[in-house]
């Protein structure tokens, strides 16, 4: 009797996106049915109206500027947060007294409500830099904690082997440390990117910087323009997906480059 391990005729690479699209379609249908049932655009607009409004917004002159400014501000905060988190993790791993010094600060940052930070930073540095700063404060502790833990978990047997064979520092970093900590680092980045994007937009809503998605969300709330509120929210969701995709691509390229490099050295 013949075996049919793959009964579906769909290629494997297409299966996952199709299933994902089907799940999204189900929830859009639920949204549509709920909006039709309520029948009041002010409370819950229909998906079609929101998508149309977003399409209208995207062709306006200010939309791209607003989106790019918000994105740039918060993404800069993420980059600074990741970089500082990495440096701090290296310092606290290799100089243990610094761990004792920094641990309470990081714990305070992690446990303080984002709203408290938003108010404090608003008082200290004003509204324009605030969303980026909030982003730094959300990313930094996550990256630091994950990387610090990952550095501590590097197999001591492998480190001893590296020491015995007198591996140069470059090889210890690229062949032992980096591959050991990369999975934790990538997980930390993926988690913190989503968090900081949402918190950055929330900060914009509260302090309404001149060019920002948050200002448009706040205006939509003020003037009871629910369709606009949904359209801007949809833009935020789509940009969040874009950020996640960028991170995934960035890491997959890193993995690929590492693979190519090791392959090259093996055949030289």
């Amino acid at each position: 009797m013949k075996n049919h391990p793959n009964k579906s005729k769909l290629p494997a690479w297409l299966k996952k996106p199709l299933l994902y699209a089907a799940a999204v379609a189900v929830w859009v249908l639920v949204w549509y049915l709920a909006a039709r049932r309520i029948g009041e655009e002010l409370l819950l607009p229909r998906p079609g109206a929101v998508v149309r409004r977003l399409a209208e917004l995207t062709v306006t002159a200010g939309f791209r500027r607003v989106v790019l400014t918000s994105l740039g501000r918060i993404a800069a905060g993420m980059v600074i947060g990741v970089t500082t988190g990495c440096l701090l993790a290296l310092l606290t791993h290799f100089v243990p007294p610094l761990y004792t010094l920094f641990h309470p600060v990081i714990t305070v940052i992690r446990s303080t409500p984002v709203a408290s930070f938003i108010i404090l930073i608003y008082l200290w540095i004003g509204r324009d830099l605030l969303p980026g700063f909030v982003s730094v404060l959300l990313v930094l502790p996550v990256v630091w904690a994950n990387l610090h833990e990952a550095l501590g978990a590097v197999d001591p047997d492998l480190l001893e082997m590296a020491r015995l064979f007198r591996l140069p520092l470059r090889k210890r970093i690229t062949r032992v440390y980096l591959p050991s900590v990369m999975p934790s680092f990538m997980a930390a980045c993926r988690t913190s990117v989503g968090l900081s994007w949402k918190a950055g937009i929330a900060a914009e809503v509260l302090v309404v910087p001149a060019l920002s998605i948050g200002r448009h969300l706040a205006d939509a709330k003020l003037y009871m323009e629910t369709v606009d509120l949904f359209a801007w929210t949809l833009a935020v969701v789509l940009l969040s997906l874009l950020l996640e995709l960028t991170i995934t691509l960035l890491f997959s390229r890193f993995e690929k480059r590492r693979g190519q490099r090791t392959e090259r050295s093996a055949h030289e």
């Binding site: 001893e160 050295s265 093996a266």
Partner: protein, 201 residues
């Protein structure tokens, strides 16, 4: 290359004595085989020699930087994200002239076809042979082997033992003989490398 000398070396972890008043001299280029029951401190002697641990009392001479050391640990300690060939390459300098050596070493232990495989794709015995290749390929004066032939089938074991013997004597490479400190439980292996194995009580 210097002699490797243990002078009344003792080692203890807390209240537990691992090694007590151990003295031994292995002349440069000489061979020494350590035998003894499990837990008698054989591996600790290798670690003391390599400078990975300090004796609690007494002293060990000829440790790094007086000698260059290479070691096959009891467990393979291969980097899981590198292939067999890359694991051997790891201990070689990155020049184009040294890189083919990894393939040559792997083919000497019957692993020519396994160059591109990752440790997870290799059996325990194959991983052990890759680790042996890494130890032999690394530049060194003193070779420390901790039960290097454990778990190998008799044919492969005989072939690998002959390779190690040829290597340390300098017949294989045409270089000066290397100092060898080998740990084993097997009397046949011990007698293959020396007439007078040191038995640790």
């Amino acid at each position: 290359m210097n002699d490797l000398i243990f002078e009344h070396a003792s080692l203890s972890f807390g209240v537990r004595d691992v090694l007590r008043d151990f003295s031994l001299t292995v002349p440069a280029g000489g061979r020494c085989v350590l035998m003894g029951a499990s837990g008698s401190g054989k591996t600790s002697i290798l670690r003391l020699a390599a400078g990975l641990m300090k004796p609690t009392s007494g002293r060990v001479l000829g440790t790094p930087p007086d000698n260059l050391f290479s070691m096959q640990f009891q467990e393979p300690r291969l980097l899981p994200w590198l292939t067999a060939e890359e694991n051997v390459n790891l201990v070689l300098s990155d020049s184009k002239t040294t890189l083919p050596q990894a393939r040559i070493w792997l083919s000497r232990v019957g692993l020519a076809d396994a160059c591109g495989l990752y440790p997870a794709q290799l059996s325990g015995g194959m991983q052990q042979r890759v680790a042996l290749c890494r130890a032999l390929a690394a530049p060194h004066d003193v070779l420390l082997l901790d039960e290097p032939f454990r778990g190998l089938d008799s044919g492969t074991r005989a072939q690998t033992m002959a390779l190690v013997a040829d290597f340390v004597s300098g017949r294989l490479t045409g270089c000066e003989p290397k100092t060898l400190l080998l740990v084993t439980h097997d009397a046949e292996e011990a007698n293959f490398f020396t007439d007078t194995p040191v038995v640790i009580a």
